[in-house]
């Protein structure tokens, strides 16, 4: 089984918490987590609803493997309609909360309605209640986490909550659990705060058992762990360097965007790379990186735990930032660093701390600042708007200052809280927003890596690398090497990666396993744990079904093929220098072919035949 077969439904308008059985028919089709929760969302809300209104729902969902010993099986996702994009949002987080929710006996929590006053949900196994959170409103993630631990006197309590940016309506606020793991993208934290829900605190003591075939499961899990350990990326690269191993690699191949994607290639990349994080600094002889850390059940442990140099201007008089906490991952280092033209590792680490402390997405935030910087340099935004801050590319002090303004909801902060799309529209330069469907790009230039262009354009949650990480094939050669400059074959590659990813997410596993694991490693673990057909074929079909369901949600929300696009800069402004000089994204060539392979119409609608084939 491994599903708990129980859903917790929390109606915030009524203040009620009820248990209901999991729809097992859907579970056998959509597996869990991302897939199953998206199914519930599709069935339960009007895709055209106001994302920040009471009609939107917010689902925290685990997968059937969440809370088991399968490597990386600790993940949960937050699913809702996104206020940033208007599309379906599904933000995946590690840490320990997902497993704890499962141990408490719940596959997912569906939040609906809106509470009159701030509340938090306390889940202690079957004992569930909404508690007053007036005293927590206005507190940071870190403060909220500490207070809840002290209130309930339980070091093992796991907390997911929103910070002040979410309360202030920042459109890309995250839900942060375990102080520095986040359901980071698409503004799921904003939705949570819009419901006056400050936190979810969970303690589970029931455990996960009742696996379909425990012995086979443990054998498959052991085999899987072995494969991860032997693989160079998951066994060595990620534990030692984290995702930051990519900074110099991607820069080297000519695919690291810089300065709001005006440039490709960042001269300061080395200074903010994994290698730099391991370098002892002058002041105290300690490196930025304290240690690597694993999320629940993870045998890879790519997480970064870092410190900021205590003598650095950003934290000099702020002892609360002198301890270790979640450090820079590659995407954050890129968005906060290369995209803003800043190569000050301590400043980036400090800003990353603030992203965790007050719960906002570093990718969207960094890219939004980058757009603002470009507009500042072009004179569209001036010191009048920024409150005297010279918001130029590469200005570290300015960057730190506007970040503090965002958190405090002062000065230029509210403008930055809009995200780049609305910000650029506000200042009349919509083309400078590096977004798809209103969500900012991560750290791979789609002109350099062609598959990523199609990935971004077709991602169901707006620009995102975690919907089909073709970088794995196009740069790292996993599982097979394709040429990053080629458009040919990429539609097939993107579709396959999208389907696999949908399935891996829905199981409760981490997508990073797929550097080493193929479906033939993953399917046996799911199949031994869960009832239903979870053969390789069954898994692939479920992945495809999930992808198409998400697409149908977006279509119903009003999205069409026209929204599967990239900003003109990436289609028309060729890369100026370096190994990828002269390239633009060839999305135009790939997209029609992709639709065809997907079984969609020419304008990107899922056909009746495809729906039938996938039992949608």
């Amino acid at each position: 089984m491994s599903w708990t077969r129980k859903i917790l439904r929390v109606n915030l308008s009524k203040g009620s918490c009820t248990s209901e059985p999991l729809n097992m028919e859907w579970a056998k089709q959509y597996l869990g987590q991302r897939g199953l929760a998206s199914k519930y969302l599709s069935e339960e809300i009007d895709p055209k609803c106001d994302a920040l209104g009471p009609d939107n729902k917010l689902i925290m969902a685990t997968g059937p493997l969440t809370g088991t010993m399968a490597s990386t099986a600790g993940r949960y996702s937050v699913i809702c309609k996104s206020p940033l994009t208007g599309a379906i949002a599904c933000s995946n987080s590690g840490g320990f909360l997902g497993a704890e929710l499962k141990f408490a006996g719940w596959d997912m929590i569906i939040f609906e309605g809106k509470s009159e006053k701030p509340v938090y949900l306390l889940v202690q196994d079957d004992k569930v209640e909404l508690r007053d959170a007036s005293h927590l409103w206005g507190k940071t993630v870190w403060e909220t986490d500490d207070i809840l631990h002290q209130t309930h006197q339980d070091p093992q309590l796991r907390v997911a909550c929103v910070g002040r940016t979410a309360e202030n309506g920042c459109l890309y606020a995250a839900i942060v659990n375990d102080k520095h793991r986040a359901a980071g993208r698409s503004g799921v934290g904003t939705v949570m705060a819009s419901k006056n829900l400050k936190a979810v605190a969970v303690r589970g003591t029931q455990g996960v058992g009742n696996l379909e075939d425990a012995k086979t499961f443990m054998a498959a899990v052991d085999a899987g762990k072995g494969v991860l350990a032997e693989n160079a990326v998951t066994g060595q690269g990620l534990p030692a360097y984290g995702t930051q191993v990519l900074m110099n690699v991607i820069n080297g191949v000519g695919a690291l965007p810089a300065r709001n994607m005006r440039d490709v290639g960042f001269e300061g990349a080395e200074n903010i790379s994994a290698e730099a994080m391991a370098e002892p600094r002058a002041s105290d002889g300690k490196p930025n990186l304290t240690t690597n850390a694993g999320c629940f059940s993870c045998t890879i442990a790519c997480g970064r735990i870092s410190t900021v140099d205590k003598t650095h201007f950003s934290v000099k008089d702020k002892p609360q930032y002198h301890g270790a906490s979640g450090g820079l991952e590659y995407e954050a280092a890129w968005a906060l660093g290369a995209d803003t033209g800043i190569d000050d590792l301590d400043a980036l680490t400090y800003v990353n701390f603030l992203c965790n402390e007050d719960g906002f997405d570093p990718i969207t935030y960094g890219a939004t600042v980058a757009a603002a910087m470009e507009m500042f340099e072009e004179g569209v935004i001036t010191t009048k708007e920024t409150g005297g801050i010279e918001l130029k590319f590469g200005n570290t002090e300015a960057f730190v200052a506007v970040t503090e303004a965002l958190v405090a909801n002062e000065g230029f902060g509210p403008d930055l809280a809009l995200g780049s799309k609305r910000l650029c529209e506000k200042y009349g330069r919509p083309e400078l927003s590096m977004t798809v469907k209103g969500q900012e790009f991560p750290a791979y230039d789609p002109r350099g890596i062609q598959g990523m262009g199609l990935t971004y354009a077709t991602s169901n949650r707006g620009a995102c690398h975690l919907r089909s990480y073709t970088v794995s094939s196009e740069v790292l050669g996993l599982p097979i090497k394709t040429e990053m400059g080629d458009a040919e074959g990429k539609p097939e590659l993107v579709k396959a990666f999208q389907d696999v990813t949908a399935l891996v997410d829905s199981a409760g596993l981490c997508i990073f396993t797929t550097f080493a694991w193929g479906m033939d490693n993953i399917a046996p673990q799911i199949d031994a744990a869960c009832e239903g057909d979870w053969s390789v074929e069954g898994c692939m079909e479920a992945g495809e079904r999930i992808w198409n369901m998400e697409r149908m949600f977006n279509t119903a929300a009003g999205f069409t093929g026209k929204d599967d696009n990239l900003p003109p800069r990436l289609m028309k402004e060729a890369i100026k220098s370096g190994p990828t000089e002269g390239q633009v994204s060839r999305l135009d060539e790939m997209l029609p072919q992709y639709y065809q392979i997907r079984g969609w119409t020419e304008d990107g609608t899922v056909t009746k035949e495809t729906q039938q084939r996938l039992s949608l």
């Binding site: 500490d146 002290q150 309930h152 006197q153 070091p155």
Partner: protein
């Protein structure tokens, strides 16, 4: 070498075993006057719940263990101790010689001067025999009055509740277990008990018990109340069993006064357990602790010294753990604090959660908690090792639940580069 141990409780049994380990050739005998094999009073509540039968209360497997250890167990009352002749006289008139004698005679329950406590419906809860009587009278639906909400009273509450009786507890102190828990913790226990349907009267005493209709008795309370009961249980404290030492000249106070080797004023006579007034770790004074862990520590220390292999110990830490109808509480050392010391606490009455730490300078000297079962032993570790907490004192002041973290951080290499 002849080692004689009077008393077959935990202190006596541990002493005998420790002696055997230290001195393989010695003659070792335990003399106990209860009819059963050596058993543990700590297990009596579980006997009353019927979790275990009588044999489940035995300290050791009575058939095999003592024989295998070559420890003689004598079921006799000791009438007289002669320290001059170095022998004891048993009830049957026989004498036994010793080179070293351990007094581990324990304690006995004491009753307050309340009229009517001699009625057949009134029992203390101390021996297996008492437990049998309580089990017989505490039938489902009958009214039971428990006089005294101390440690003993509290540990038998659950057994009584599970037997389905209507229970009322009378405590003269202003809170439950006043000698183990502070006002807040004691208050939590009281509201918890009331939530379980137990009547609790604190700051209240019993004025008299009188025979009434049928097999019932009438219990008159100082607050003017009257309770009818089929069974009255007294649990109002214990007193060391010292009678045996009358005339020996051995120094006694509340118990046998012993030094840091558990040695009495007579160099060949030692004392351990409830009867011993030994050095308290926290105060350095001689105190009777009357708790299980102290009994076993005393037994071990006394035995090592009797065998000539011991050191002075630094005193035993007073500590208690109590399960009151499922609510676990504990306290250690100077849980009431010291003058000029800092304290930290978290109190969540809604969830019956409480933790209180007491510091003297940089070290932890006392602690108490309610509703916690995980890692509580480390409070003993933190106190007894007198760890200088450094930064961790402030962390504990902010969040006193981080006791295990503090201990690990202060005692282990965490692998800093």
């Amino acid at each position: 070498m002849k080692h004689l141990i009077i008393g077959a409780g935990p202190a006596g049994v541990i002493a005998a075993e420790t002696l055997r380990k230290s001195d393989p050739d010695a003659e070792i005998a335990i003399i106990g006057d209860e009819p059963e094999p050596p058993y543990s009073r700590m297990a009596i509540p579980y006997y009353l719940i019927e979790n275990v039968d009588e044999s489940g209360t035995y300290l050791r497997d009575p058939k095999a263990h003592f024989k295998a250890q070559n420890i003689e167990v004598v079921q006799q009352r000791v009438d007289k101790v002669d320290t001059g002749k170095k022998n004891v006289t048993l009830a049957d008139g026989k004498t036994r010689d010793f080179d070293k004698l351990l007094i581990a005679t324990g304690s006995h329950p004491i009753s307050p001067p309340i009229p009517g406590l001699d009625l057949p419906q009134v029992h203390s809860c101390w021996t297996l025999e008492d437990a049998r009587n309580i089990a017989r009278l505490a039938q489902s639906g009958s009214n039971v009055v428990l006089i005294g909400a101390g440690f003993i009273g509290c540990i038998i509450l659950e057994a009584l509740v599970k037997r389905g009786v209507n229970l009322t507890v009378i405590e003269t102190g202003n809170r439950m277990v006043p000698r183990m828990l502070d006002d807040k913790a004691g208050g939590l226990l009281e509201s918890w008990c009331k939530q379980q349907g137990i009547g609790v009267h604190t700051s209240c005493s019993v004025e008299s018990v009188t025979a009434a209709d049928g097999d019932q008795v009438e219990v008159a309370l100082s607050d003017g109340g009257n309770l009818s009961a089929a069974l009255v249980i007294t649990a109002t404290g214990v007193k060391a069993n010292l009678d045996l030492l009358d005339g020996t000249g051995i120094d006694t106070d509340f118990g046998v006064l012993v030094n840091k080797r558990m040695q009495s004023s007579d160099e060949n006579v030692y004392a351990a357990g409830d009867v011993a007034q030994g050095v308290d770790f926290s105060t350095g004074n001689q105190e009777v602790q009357a708790i299980q862990p102290t009994a076993t520590d005393h037994g071990r220390i006394a035995a090592l010294n009797m065998a000539g292999k011991g050191d002075e110990h630094q005193g035993t830490l007073n500590m208690n753990v109590l399960d009151t109808v499922g609510l676990v509480s504990c306290s250690f050392g100077l849980w009431m604090g010291v003058d000029g010391g800092d304290s930290a606490e978290l109190y969540n009455a809604d969830e019956y959660q409480y933790i209180n730490l007491q510091f003297d300078g940089e070290t932890l000297v006392g602690a108490s908690s309610v509703g916690k079962t995980q890692h509580i032993g480390v409070l003993r570790g933190l106190i007894e090792s007198r760890i200088e907490l450094g930064d961790w004192k402030q962390k504990l002041m902010a969040d006193p639940t981080l006791i295990m973290d503090a201990y690990i951080a202060c005692t282990q290499e965490l692998g800093y580069a």
